[in-house]
């Protein structure tokens, strides 16, 4: 399975290495660097690279490449999924997963890696178990440790691994028992030049933050579960119950976790919450181009559209842009030709617009690519699909927990393109 792991930063330095079997020389990464050089963009490095004696499987997160070295047949997704789990764990532990954070906590990182993999096969990947084994560093604990000389390593060995609910640690105690659920939906849409939707889909997740004492058994039911077309669960969810009754029944892990991710069936028409009026023209022969963009809200059920961010990759020929936003600020990077406009909140009475001119390279012909426009936005208190949680019940414990459910809609992260389109990531 996984032999070794190398962490490589954006400038191509190996800043951490860990071996689970015999030591593999770091020179094996030369093949990776070669591929890195060949790739035009950082994300274009192939995830799987074959070398004479090893295979390198890498993921890129937070501008760090996690390069796993393997020697024999193993499902590549197995490795990729594990590497992502490692990154998630680091993020969970250190708040961010940056080179600096990893270097600062190198011992914790090492201890974590040691626990997560045994002889290259995953051992403990549940964050609840890991946190019992190795306590996450906090400022307070670091100070206490410095003074008292105590350690980050759990004195007691975790018990969760041995129980039927390996994802939950035992002996959880809170004075305030709370359970929060965030329903977050993302719209992914491609809209063509004329404003008609090519594809649009909604994906959602329910992230939970559960701080409940003991071993609570929760059930969560929806008003309209039929909306959910395709779901994937945290292992704690009882699948049969879902199949039979469309109810989420589970013993939650302690703390933050992703309960469910779902996809809203494509039969339902997706309401795009904003529209864009645009007029971007280049005239042949002239070194000027006109840029005119107006945003407006659409079908938001009275909720405000917030944190709107428009970005557009302008053609290479554009030298500079001289624009005038009615609200917010814009930046244009002349090197990457990326125009970003931080709009903020859309006021339906006074629609935000960005107008002005672009200067083109003198003598260059009219660019034939059309820029794409990506829009990011947020709508609070609304799940665009209309999904509603019906009720949340708790069994198995006596106290009354405080329950909270929050809805949010976002534009997706993975954007798309069209002639002149809006990508809602």
């Amino acid at each position: 399975m996984i032999h070794s792991l190398f962490l490589v930063n954006a400038s191509g330095d190996i800043f951490l290495e860990k071996h689970w079997k015999s030591v593999v020389s770091r020179s094996v990464c030369d093949y990776f660097f070669e591929a890195q050089e060949r790739a035009t963009e950082p994300e274009n490095v192939p995830p799987v690279i074959s070398t004479p004696h090893h295979y390198l499987i890498s993921v890129l997160r937070h501008r760090i490449y996690f390069v796993a070295v393997i020697q024999s047949e193993v499902p590549p997704l197995f490795v990729i999924e594990f590497l992502h789990r490692v990154v998630d764990t680091f993020q969970d532990y250190f708040g961010v997963c940056t080179e600096a954070a990893i270097k600062d906590n190198v011992v914790v990182v090492y201890e974590l890696l040691e626990e997560m993999l045994d002889n290259g096969f995953p051992l403990a990947t549940e964050s609840n178990i890991l946190k019992e084994l190795i306590k996450p560093p906090t400022i307070l604990r670091t100070m206490v440790n410095t003074i008292t000389g105590s350690t980050n390593v759990g004195e007691q060995l975790p018990t969760g691994q041995l129980s039927v609910v390996p994802w939950r640690r035992t002996g959880v105690k809170y004075t305030n028992n709370e359970a929060y659920f965030d329903v977050v939906e993302e719209i992914d849409a491609i809209i063509d030049k004329s404003g008609s939707t090519i594809t649009a889909e909604i994906q959602g997740v329910i992230d939970a933050c559960v701080k409940l004492t003991g071993m609570p058994d929760l059930t969560l039911s929806f008003m309209n579960p039929r909306l959910l077309d395709d779901v994937s669960f945290h292992p704690c969810v009882r699948f049969k119950r879902w199949e039979a009754e469309r109810i989420l029944s589970f013993i939650p892990p302690d703390g933050n976790f992703r309960l469910l991710s779902y996809h809203v069936s494509s039969q339902n028409l997706v309401a795009i919450p904003v529209y864009v009026k645009h007029n971007i023209t280049f005239r042949e022969g002239s070194s000027q181009g006109r840029f005119d963009l107006t945003l407006g809200p659409k079908q938001t059920m009275g909720k405000a559209v917030e944190a709107v961010l428009v970005s557009s990759q302008l053609p290479r020929g554009v030298l500079n842009a001289n624009l005038n936003p009615s609200q917010g600020t814009y930046t244009f990077d002349p090197v990457t030709k990326l125009l970003t406009w931080d709009v903020g909140k859309i006021n339906p009475q006074k629609l935000p617009s960005l107008k002005g001119t672009m200067s083109l390279q003198a003598g260059a012909s009219k660019p034939d690519e059309n820029p794409t426009i990506n829009i990011q936005l947020k709508i609070q208190q609304m799940a665009i699909s209309g999904l509603k949680v019906n009720r949340l019940d708790m069994y198995g414990e006596k106290y009354k927990p405080f329950k909270g459910i929050k809805y949010m809609t976002k534009a997706g992260k993975s954007v798309s393109s069209y002639l002149f389109e809006f990508l809602f990531i």
Binding site: E17, E73, Q161, L162, D217, S232, N370
Partner: protein
């Protein structure tokens, strides 16, 4: 702390405790001396007796390791701390040790004993971690120790330790592949494990060590299928992949009829054209077709095959992409065509994950779309390309879109392609053009549209786009060249502008090939090319020669000179390939006297009709690799890849998967049930059982023996139904048991008697023990008290018994055997009455029957024995030995046997029952013992003198011998009133012990303390008659005075006893395997006793 701050001062105060320093990289400092110095500091810190300093030092060292700096010279200093109390220091030392042990083998050995000690720790987690580190130390010398540790851990009570053992197997295997056979044994054992925790790890070990031993899976197949959903995600992946391979060897191809259909002319396309409609319709339609075909050749899916498909399907909902992919490939390779469709949705879902996941999934989808286009068609839009996708993802999506293209959706796809061409990513544009070309070749209807579109691209400003278009157009034109002479003309013009060699070469080839369609332009192109010949790339030069040759053959008038010119240029080219080609072509086309027959055929050679190229997906035929595998992704066999076997022609015997006895009906102890409760699948809760409770196992400290078991209804239910499923073999067992039960009833009385006697001496000890074992929970002490009470109950009848005992002596064999048997049974019954014991009718006897009834029963047995006199063959329970033959004894014959009852006058003595028969005609008087000759330490308690033994009478007497735990004979003289006979009593080793009652936990604990030298194990083949548990128990208890220990596994029988004199424990285990193979293990502090006992038991079990 002061020392540590002093250290910091030394370093300029820049480093703070708990924070490894990156800035102070010794190598970057540049001076080696400082490196040395620094390591001296670390050594000092490691040698100090303050944990804080050690920890600080270890943290620095680990930081060095993390950066790949060499820290091996610190090995001696670090390894000393392996036994450090501080848990974090210890962990970091482990990290260091595992990293450097390979380089410093000798020193690493110093640490081994620490781990060996850890292996015996009562805490399961410490045992596990000791095994984990021990097995990670890659030092060949310790292979035997590792092997031993793994074997031991594989039968550990804690599933977590067993899991660790499974992890250790591949480690040992990679260290020493010679151990394979032994490891397979361990794997086999662990495969039979019923806990979800172990399942994934052991299958992983199986895959690494012996993936070819598919036969090991048979018995565990159904169990694995059923446990699958509760196994942790990583284990699921491994198990599913393995089961895919397994199913391919064991089941029939479910699509066998469909493939017939395809052969019969029904194409894929018509088959799937209804896909856009409702899935149900589609399925029905298919089913109809299938059923029609079924008449031709009936296919019935093996229920096990169905089981696999059914149990893996929910895992498509896993959050883990690897699990989803594993299930998807399983369905793709194993499911009937109509059912494969379910995986599409899940795979499409993965496309919203990280780009690396997308990359892998798209590769697999691309392969799937070639074979099963229909299932992804509804998701066409999910493969539309987004401008933010990395190039490699875009290209893969294009591949999928191209594969999905058919007559109905081609127009939307082409529209989509058109927009892609305007992308700024040129690699992607080139790929799009190729994709258009492929669509055009595959779908005749759109060929012209595509061609026109591509021709328009020829006027694109981007040369790369144009070049790519040319190449694609060339391929397309080959299909219908006659219609497209204007395109060829258009392209001929392009030669002036286009610089990309591949495109130029393509144009030249086209013109040459179809020069008859453009008779006027072709020579002109050649003229231009001849002019620039020397500056062209090699690939273009070759095509110029080609063009020249073809024109010479078709239009020699105009081009003869030009051709000569080109050939002359080529003759002096730097590239020998071009020179060769020129020479060859000249000989071929220019007729000379020398050139013979060939030049006549030159035209045929050059202008033969060439088959149009088929534009194929690079993913075609990739499906011979198992999907989702690395080999599939690379399209090359990776090391360790296991071929996916073809379906068998006819299904192998499905009965190999039958498990003879559903194990859990046999669960014979509370331990067992406890385990079962723990492993109760999480998801099964939804089927009406109470929600999962904190399991008993979750308390770490009492891991070895926590007993807070609430009796589960499930296991208490009568097991009739299961038993009826048992094979005939076990039926026989039952019959035997039935007989046993009857016997039992009779002998309960005796048994109780013996118990009570024994208890009188044991009670005190036991009491002490109870106090000692405070960690044991109530229920256990309950059991103790219960048995005590039963003893006291029976004590009423004790006097009676004693009277009868003397009679009983006359038929020595029946009491002892059932006696032991009974003891075991009874203890079990006492443990808890929910036991699904196979002898329910006996149960009440023990607990409820009044004493009077018991006596009645005993009376029965006695009367029986009266009817059948003492001549019953001594084959069964107690063996009689001859002390004095009647001829040498002049009519007096004496036999003795070991009654196995406590010798009341002295607890350290073995009771020997002597049976005197006077066959002489005269009476024998004054029978007594004299002149006892003993080895030092041995003692004898003589029997009371027998005053008179009349002729023809018989009598018995009991004497006690303290053999001092040796098999030395006790020699003495047996005297009568007239004579003295020299006789000796030599005990078989099995009689030098008395049974002790242990629980499984205690047994394990004791056993773990009697390892190494104190353990002797032997492999054996069981006698044909002694293959069932029952027979084994009987034979062992006959051969040695041991009591049975309840055991969780039906493959193991355990026995315990202690030597009579010294009270050392004797533990015996018989682990059975297939085909009568078994392993006998004896643990005993007294090695001599152990060795001899092994011999005896071997003999007993094999004959």
């Amino acid at each position: 702390m002061s020392a540590s701050s002093a250290f910091n001062d030394e370093k300029g105060g820049s480093s703070s405790v708990g924070e490894p320093e990156y800035g102070h990289d010794p190598a970057s400092g540049g001076i080696f001396s400082s490196d040395y110095k620094r390591h001296d500091d670390l050594k000092e810190m490691l040698d100090s007796n303050k944990d804080a300093l050690k920890l600080e030092a270890m943290k620095r060292i680990v930081a060095m390791i993390a950066r790949g700096k060499n820290a091996s010279d610190l090995f001696p200093a670090v390894v000393k701390n392996v036994a450090c109390k501080n848990i974090e220091v210890k962990k970091l030392v482990y990290v260091y040790l595992v990293r450097y042990a390979e380089e410093q083998q000798d020193l690493a050995l110093l640490s081994i004993s620490t781990f060996q000690r850890g292996l015996k720790d009562p805490n399961q987690l410490i045992r596990a971690s000791a095994l984990r580190v021990l097995s990670s130390i890659r030092v060949t010398i310790i292979v035997p120790i590792m092997m031993l540790a793994i074997k031991e851990a594989a039968s550990d009570m804690s599933p977590y330790v067993r899991k660790t053992a499974a992890h250790a197997i591949p480690k040992l295997y990679s260290l020493d592949p010679e151990q394979k056979d032994q490891l397979i044994e361990v794997i086999e054992k662990l495969l039979a494990d019923k806990t979800t925790l172990v399942a994934g790890s052991v299958v992983m070990a199986f895959e690494e060590v012996c993936p070819e031993r598919i036969d090991l899976i048979h018995k565990n197949y159904r169990k694995l299928c059923n446990l699958l959903i509760d196994v942790e995600e990583w284990g699921q992946v491994v198990i599913i992949n393995m089961l895919t391979r397994y199913a391919r060897t064991q089941f029939l191809n479910p699509n066998i009829n469909e493939s017939l259909l395809e052969e019969g002319g029904g194409g894929d396309k018509t088959f799937y054209c209804s896909d856009e409609d409702e899935d149900e319709d589609e399925e029905k339609e298919k089913q109809a077709e299938v059923s029609a075909l079924a008449k031709r050749k009936p296919y019935v899916m093996d229920p096990d095959h169905r089981l696999l498909l059914r149990n893996t399907k929910p895992l498509l909902q896993s959050r883990n992409a690897a699990v989803v992919m594993a299930v998807a490939q399983l369905y793709f390779h194993l499911a009937p065509k109509a059912e494969v469709g379910v995986i599409a949705k899940a795979l499409v879902r993965l496309l919203r994950s990280h780009s690396e996941v997308q990359f892998v999934v798209l590769q697999n989808v691309a392969t799937m779309t070639i074979k099963r286009r229909g299932m992804f068609e509804p998701y066409l839009k999910s493969f539309y390309i987004r401008s933010t996708d990395p190039t490699q993802i875009k290209i893969l999506k294009l591949e999928v879109l191209t594969n999905l293209a058919n007559e109905t959706n081609i127009s939307t796809i082409l529209r989509e392609f058109q927009t892609y061409i305007k992308s700024m990513d040129k690699d992607f544009v080139a790929a799009t053009i190729q994709a258009i070309g492929r669509c055009a070749t595959n779908i005749g209807e759109v060929r012209d549209t595509c061609l026109n579109g591509l021709v328009q691209l020829l006027s694109n400003r981007d040369e790369l786009v144009v070049a790519e278009s040319v190449v694609v157009i060339k391929k397309l034109l080959q299909m219908q060249p006659e219609k497209h002479s204007d395109i060829i003309k258009h392209m001929a013009k392009l030669t002036d502008n286009i610089q990309v060699p591949m495109a130029r070469a393509s144009i030249l080839w086209l013109i040459g090939e179809y020069c008859e369609h453009v008779p006027k332009i072709a020579p002109d192109v050649l003229r231009k090319m001849a002019k620039s010949f020397t500056n062209e790339e090699d690939i273009v030069k070759l095509q110029i020669i080609n063009l020249a040759a073809k024109l010479y053959l078709t239009n020699s008038k105009q081009t003869k000179l030009l051709t000569q010119y080109v050939l002359n240029l080529a003759k002096y080219d730097q590239n020998y390939d071009i020179r060769d080609r020129a020479r060859f072509i000249r000989q071929l086309i220019v007729p000379t006297e020398k050139s013979g027959a060939l030049s006549k055929y030159a035209k045929k050679l050059f202008l033969a009709l060439k088959p149009a190229p088929v534009l194929e997906s690079p993913f075609k035929d990739r499906d011979h690799f198992q999907l989702g595998s690395l080999s599939h992704l690379l399209n090359a066999k990776a090391g360790g890849y296991q071929e996916l076997p073809d379906w068998p022609e006819s299904a192998p015997d499905p009965s190999v998967r039958n498990v003879e006895v559903p194990e859990w009906t046999k669960c014979s102890s509370r331990e067992k049930r406890k385990e079962k409760k723990v492993e109760k699948p999480f998801y099964s809760d939804s089927e009406g059982e109470s929600g999962p409770t904190e399991s008993a196992d979750s308390e770490p400290d009492t891991g070895s023996g926590s007993e807070s078991v609430s009796v589960s209804v499930e296991s208490g239910s009568p097991s009739d139904s299961e038993e009826s499923e048992e094979s005939s073999e076990s039926d026989e067992d039952e019959e035997e048991e039935e007989k046993e039960k009857k016997k039992k009833k009779k002998e309960i009385k005796q048994m109780q008697a013996s118990e009570s006697e024994q208890s009188s001496e044991d009670d005190r000890k036991r009491d002490r023990k109870i106090k000692e074992q405070k960690s044991n929970s109530e229920s256990e002490s309950d059991e103790d008290s219960e048995s005590e009470s039963s003893q006291s109950e029976s004590s009423d009848t004790e006097s009676e018994v004693e009277v009868k005992k003397k009679k009983k002596v006359s038929e020595p064999k029946p009491p002892s055997k059932p006696l032991k048997k009974e003891k075991k049974e009874m203890s079990l019954l006492d443990l808890d009455d929910f036991e699904p014991t196979p002898s329910p009718q006996v149960t009440p006897v023990n607990t409820f029957l009044s004493n009077s009834l018991v006596t009645d029963l005993e009376g029965l047995s006695l009367s029986d024995s009266v009817l059948s006199p003492a001549t019953i063959a001594p084959s069964s329970a107690l063996k009689n030995y001859e002390l004095l033959h009647r001829i040498t004894g002049e009519g007096l014959s004496v036999e003795y046997c070991f009654s196995r009852q406590a010798f009341s006058p002295d607890a350290n003595m073995v009771a020997v029952q002597m049976h005197f028969t006077n066959n002489a005609t005269s009476d024998t008087k004054n029978l007594h013992i004299e002149d006892v000759k003993l080895q030092s330490g041995m003692r004898v308690k003589e029997f009371a003198e027998i005053e008179l033994l009349p002729a023809g009478e018989a009598t018995t007497a009991v004497m006690g011998v303290d053999f001092c735990d040796s098999t030395q004979a006790a020699n003495f003289q047996l005297c009568t009133h007239t004579r003295k006979f020299f006789v000796s009593i030599q005990p078989p080793v099995g009689e030098l012990m008395r049974p002790v009652f242990l629980t499984e936990n205690e047994f394990k604990k004791e056993q773990s303390q009697l390892m190494g030298m104190n353990e002797i194990s032997e492999n054996l083949t069981l006698d044909a008659k002694c293959r069932n548990e029952h027979a084994i128990v009987q034979r062992v208890t006959t051969a040695a005075n041991l009591s049975r220990v309840p055991c969780g596994s039906d493959k193991e029988c355990r026995f315990a006893g202690k030597t009579v004199t010294s009270g050392s424990l004797v533990l015996a285990t018989v682990a059975t395997k297939d085909e009568g193979a078994a392993q006998l293990t004896v643990n005993c502090e007294k090695m001599v006793i152990g060795t001899m006992l092994v011999k005896d038991l071997l003999l007993a079990l094999t004959q």
